[in-house]
């Protein structure tokens, strides 16, 4: 989506708004001319024909100006909304990987500041620029037709004006950019010390953070003063040049009036036009950087709006059996430094429907990535993933996901109601929700909420304990009524008693679900149908607990590290 395309799709609007701008500029230009005519006509009565014309022009000018201001603002808002809607639709079709790679922070900027900047080009930029140009050209023509010689004298100042704008703004645009970069640093620092406030207090690093802030804040002040300098130089220069114009008019105009080659009315009109002249030049000077920033923003918007999306195609899923197979699956990604980093290496396993499987292994072994692959959040670099004996990419992914419940390792809450957080819709089946909540042992909690499920979850979920949040995540997954339930380290924050209660509930209320659980605890998974041991991206063993105890050194190591608990537990 280029600027040309944007212009093209709003052709009608642009023509309308600019022609209004044109009419209003012409009217504004015509007023001093009419005033001059009135003076020169020398009709000394309180109301003359010239004044009637002037009155009509003034009223037309008001109506047109108001329409122009309103319509251009409306037009800008409309473009802003259309752009955002377009972006929202595009982003909603993107893969998770795309969002992660573009970073939410950057996308946020595109949706907000960049759209604002494009709106700026349209509302103040485009229209103002066009009417400034019209006023400029119009007043040049009028000056020259009124009195060609004096007009030329006055216009000789223009090149100097343009040059000074060019030089000063050249310097300023660098400072503007520096200010922007600095502002980002300031923001990052503030946000980190707010989010990390607990750590700052625990390790007493407040003074170190203040010192860091001192540095960026000083920088930002110095850049700010630099910008002030530039503007403080620019404005007197422009004033100087406009004053020179006045001097030229008084001196040469005065002589011409004396020589009777010019009337007093024309003399007065000249003064008025030379004033009008400065405004558009100022505008063009100010709008230049703003418009160029707008174009950069438009490019960034286009990058997202034009990026290819995954088209939702494939088989709709009515019911899932729950057979899952990984065939030589590998996953690699590029690190920030550009190196290829292997996360999963040649993983193969089969999980039968309605069975229970556990995945164990050390931190950073790639366990979570297996879930990401199963849920279509990531695509394997090599190998095949089969679900119900069909490659995963044969399915319409969103339809497939209606049957898979994935509980993430971390609690992801939205600042909305409990109901929305669990079901994402207002008209969820109450009995399904109820079953999910009871299974996740949240029945009592929800009953105690002031407005039940319609209570808002606060922004960072501070009012909920870690365990409660995690159980809420489980309820969300269960509300899908999944045939496959993926639990990522679900029990890390839940106490043992609650954990076993919940797992019993799941078995009772969701019979036949294929359960895959990433976990650290061996005890609860001893009776599972299969345990997969993962280490540094490699599948090093799989089998039942008893088989692994016999065959796998690594599994035994994990098991031994927990033995003490277990013996006591029995």
């Amino acid at each position: 989506m280029s600027f040309a395309k944007l212009i093209k799709s709003y052709k009608g609007w642009i023509v309308l708004v600019t022609s209004l701008g044109f009419i209003s500029s012409i009217a504004a230009l015509y007023v001093p001319k009419l005033a001059a005519n009135t003076i020169d006509a020398g009709d000394l009565s309180p109301w003359s024909g010239n004044m009637t014309i002037l009155a009509i022009v003034i009223i037309i000018a008001l109506a047109v100006a108001w329409l122009q201001v309103y319509l251009s603002a409306y037009f800008a808002e409309k473009i802003g909304y259309d752009l955002r809607r377009n972006l929202v639709t595009k982003v909603s079709k993107q893969s998770f990987q795309y969002i992660a790679d573009s970073t939410p922070g950057k996308l946020q900027t595109v949706f907000t500041s960049d759209v604002e900047a494009v709106k700026g080009i349209i509302s103040s930029g485009l229209v103002t620029l066009l009417s400034a140009l019209i006023t400029l050209i119009g007043s040049i023509i009028l000056l020259l037709t009124l009195n060609a010689r004096l007009g030329l004298y006055v216009l000789s100042v223009v090149p100097f004006l343009l040059l000074s704008f060019f030089f000063i703004f050249g310097g300023l645009s660098k400072l503007f950019q520096a200010a922007q970069e600095n502002l980002e640093k300031v923001n990052a620092l503030i946000s980190e010390t707010i989010v990390g406030s607990a750590l700052v207090r625990v390790v007493n690093s407040a003074s170190a953070e203040i010192a860091k802030f001192f540095k960026v804040n000083t920088q930002s002040r110095d850049i700010g003063i630099g910008i002030v300098r530039g503007f403080s130089t620019l404005i007197p220069i422009v004033t100087l040049l406009s004053n020179v114009m006045t001097l030229i008019i008084v001196w040469f105009g005065g002589h011409q009036v004396a020589a009777e080659t010019m009337t007093l009315g024309e003399f007065s009109a000249f003064l008025a036009y030379s004033n009008m002249f400065i405004w558009p030049i100022f505008m063009i000077g100010f709008l230049g950087p703003m418009i160029s920033r707008g174009f950069i923003s438009l490019r960034r918007i286009a990058e997202i709006a034009d990026s290819p999306v995954i088209e939702e195609a494939g088989i709709e899923v009515d019911h899932l059996k729950g057979d899952i197979e990984f065939k030589n699956v590998s996953l690699t990604y590029k690190t920030a430094a550009g190196e290829e980093k292997s996360v999963l290496k040649d993983i193969s396993f089969v999980i039968n429907a309605k069975t229970k499987t556990a995945i164990v292994g050390p931190t950073a072994a790639g366990k979570t990535q297996i879930f990401y692959l199963m849920a279509g959040l990531a695509q394997p670099t090599a190998g095949d993933i089969l679900i119900d004996n069909r490659p995963i990419h044969d399915y319409k992914i969103s339809s497939l996901l209606q049957h898979i419940g994935l509980v993430f390792q971390d609690s992801i809450l939205f600042n909305t109601t409990f109901r929305d957080n669990i079901a994402f819709t207002d008209n969820a089946d109450e009995s399904i929700l109820h079953k999910a909540l009871e299974t996740a042992e949240l029945g009592t909690l929800v009953k105690e909420l002031p407005k039940g499920l319609n209570t808002m979850v606060s922004e960072r979920g501070t009012s909920l304990s870690g365990g409660q949040k995690q159980r809420l995540m489980l309820a969300r997954a269960l509300a899908v009524q999944p045939q496959v339930l993926l639990l990522d380290d679900f029990t890390a924050r839940v106490d043992q008693a609650t954990e076993s209660l919940i797992l019993e509930n799941v078995a009772k209320n969701y019979p036949g679900v294929t359960l895959i659980s990433i976990t650290q605890k061996i005890e609860p998974i001893k009776a599972y149908d299969k345990i997969i041991v993962l280490m540094e991206g490699e599948l090093i063993a799989s089998g039942t607990h008893n088989e692994l105890v016999e065959s796998s050194f690594e599994y035994n190591q994990i098991y031994q590290s927990q033995m003490s608990t277990e013996t006591l537990h029995k």
Binding site: T38, A61, N204, L247, V250, I412, Q468, S564
Partner: protein, 598 residues
């Protein structure tokens, strides 16, 4: 600074934080703001003189030109014209110098004020206790430090200087035209009254519409941020439609309210232009008549026409200025709210508040009760004693108060009643630096800063501040973290982006763990420090704990039972009571019988 001791304050911003004078007088608020510009008063006075000069110069020029028209040009006697030109040149030189000086001065004042404001707010934020951050939304705080200070800055840099410049010119022009010819002067100024009334009538409406629009945009932005950050859930739950409709609605609301706002404020500029034009017409009508009666000259009429042009567009600016004053006052009061907060977690300067009978304990809780602001009791009458060199475990169901207990021990909160003693001394008498040296806490939610793994491990550690990567690695290896370092794709050099995106929780916990160990504290509190770490790695970490100096006291909060197996003493925390569990077996029994309170 100690007058607020034990007084109960709420940190919630935007609520009656200062009850005795919930509505702070404008005067007091203004006086407090003045403190920030006090140092620059000479600059401001200097700038004002130049603003005044500038205005006077711009007022007299049309008059001088009018005189020139009447005396020399209209009479066709140009002998005196060079003098007029020189006079104008002199005035222009003054204008230019004055404009430059005024611009620089006011710009510097505003930049320096912004600097001081941000500095104070940031420093103030750092001095406030953790309770403050728990009670306020991060986004709101960010916008106070940034947007609100910036709004004030804009007001100062563009607003104030231009306001006074415009104000002087307007008053000057008004006075001057009345002086030249009061009748024509009144004709010229009459429109002002109409416009002022118009602005007053329209303003509340415009303000309301703009505020609605700003709120809608803010809402779109926060909905967007949340949904982008949580995109995983959107994808994994197949809720792309929900995402799209939700955001589309927020964007549409922003559009509708912006449209309404545009319609209301869009009327001002054309109306002011119209006022100027009508005035011109009136001046022509009356002026021509007065020329006819010989009361004025053509030159005077031309001057009046020029003055009317200089009068009505600045007047529009004045109207805008008052709206600006209102938003700036609002911004300042939001900043002021933070700056005037009193800290209720004060460090007592040397005054011994209470003494412990047990001077040889590492940490002791004497009759400690605690509840969060306006909340139910979390801990009631806890009496706990922790010996040097021993390991303690806190167990119990979620939401039972274990983390709160840890926060009290680390002096992140003060108990509502009762005293916490560190090494036999009231913990409130420790400076933050001394307290941080004694106590390390591994927080339940690991916190990372942008940078790399090494920087995060040495974060806040004065001794290791400038250590090289090699030396740090050597130290870590010596402490038994060799395997742990290899869990990061580029070792200690692994880059960490904002808040550690891309790392697993387990990895974040490993960093927090190393960070705490390297601080070599006397009291180490582990709050679910290894919850997401596999048991093999955990065993490795436990070895590094054992290698800590013999007198280190360890307090471990955990759900996993084997984590607490090695503890010398186990305490059971549930339903705001703390009981000693005695043996490990007792603890297991208590846990299995316990009923979750939520």
């Amino acid at each position: 600074m100690t007058d607020s001791k034990n007084s109960k304050l709420t940190y919630e911003l935007g609520v009656g934080y200062d009850t005795e004078s919930a509505k702070v007088s404008t005067w007091r608020s203004g006086k407090e703001f003045f403190a920030f510009i006090k140092a620059d008063v000479p600059k401001i006075i200097f700038a004002f003189i130049f603003i005044l000069l500038n205005s006077v110069a711009s007022i007299v020029t049309p008059f001088i030109i009018a005189k020139a028209v009447d005396t020399y040009i209209a009479t066709k006697d140009l002998a005196g014209l060079p003098n007029v030109i020189w006079l104008l040149v002199a005035i222009y030189v003054v204008t230019i110098i004055a404009g430059y000086v005024q611009g620089i001065m006011m710009g510097m004042v505003s930049q320096r004020t912004l600097y001081r404001l941000r500095e104070s707010v940031f420093t103030k934020l750092q001095s406030l206790p953790i309770a403050f951050f728990n009670q306020n939304k991060a986004g709101d705080l960010m916008s106070r430090v940034n947007n609100d200070t910036d709004k004030l800055n804009q007001f100062l840099s563009e607003g104030v200087a231009r306001f006074f410049g415009t104000f002087f010119s307007l008053v000057g022009v008004a006075g001057f035209v009345l002086y030249i010819n009061w009748k024509l002067g009144l004709v010229m100024l009459a429109m002002t009254v109409v416009l002022v009334i118009f602005v007053r009538l329209m303003s509340p409406h415009v303000r309301r519409k703009s505020k609605e629009s700003l709120t809608a945009v803010g809402n779109f932005s926060s909905v967007l941020q949340e949904n982008l950050n949580n995109f995983r859930v959107v994808v994994a739950y197949g809720k792309r439609d929900y995402f799209r409709d939700h955001l589309d609605k927020a964007a549409y609301d922003a559009f509708v309210s912006a449209k309404k706002a545009a319609r209301s404020y869009g009327i001002f500029e054309p109306i002011f232009d119209f006022g100027g034009n009508i005035t011109m017409l009136a001046l022509l009508s009356v002026g021509m008549y007065m020329i006819g009666t010989g009361e004025i000259t053509v030159g005077i009429l031309i001057a009046f026409l020029a003055y009317s042009q200089r009068f009505y567009s600045p007047l529009l600016y004045m109207a805008g200025f008052f709206a600006n004053v209102q938003t700036s006052t609002a911004a300042w009061s939001r900043i002021r709210e933070i700056l005037t907060l009193k800290n209720n977690l004060e460090i007592s300067d040397g005054i011994i508040l209470a003494e412990s009978a047990n001077r040889d304990l590492r940490i002791e809780l004497a009759d400690v009760s605690f509840h969060y602001e306006g909340g139910n009791p979390v801990i009631e009458n806890a009496n706990l004693q922790f010996q040097p060199g021993k390991t303690y475990a806190l167990v119990g169901p979620t939401g039972g108060g274990k983390s709160t207990l840890a926060s009290l021990m680390a002096h992140l909160y003060d108990p509502t009643t009762g005293v916490v003693f560190l090494n036999g001394r009231d913990i409130r008498t420790y400076s933050d630096a001394d307290r941080a040296k004694e106590i390390s806490v591994i927080l339940q939610d690991p916190i990372l800063f942008t940078g790399n793994v090494a920087e995060n491990i040495t974060y806040g550690n004065e001794e290791l501040k400038h250590i090289s990567l090699e030396k740090l690695e050597a130290i870590l290896v010596e402490k038994g973290f060799k395997d742990v370092i290899s869990r990061f794709e580029s070792g200690l050099n692994t880059a960490i982006s904002q808040s550690g995106a891309g790392l697993s929780i387990g990895q974040k916990q490993l960093i927090s763990f190393m960070r705490a160990i390297l601080r070599a504290p006397k009291l180490l509190i582990l709050d679910e420090a290894t919850a997401n770490i596999d048991t093999v790695t955990e065993a490795m970490l436990n070895k590094t704990l054992e290698a800590l100096p013999k007198d280190t006291t360890k307090v471990i909060i955990a759900h996993r039972l084997n984590t607490i197996k090695e503890a010398d003493d186990i305490m059971f925390v549930n339903g705001h009571h703390v009981t000693r569990a005695g043996s490990y077996e007792d603890a297991i029994g208590l846990i299995e019988k316990s009923k979750r309170t939520s």
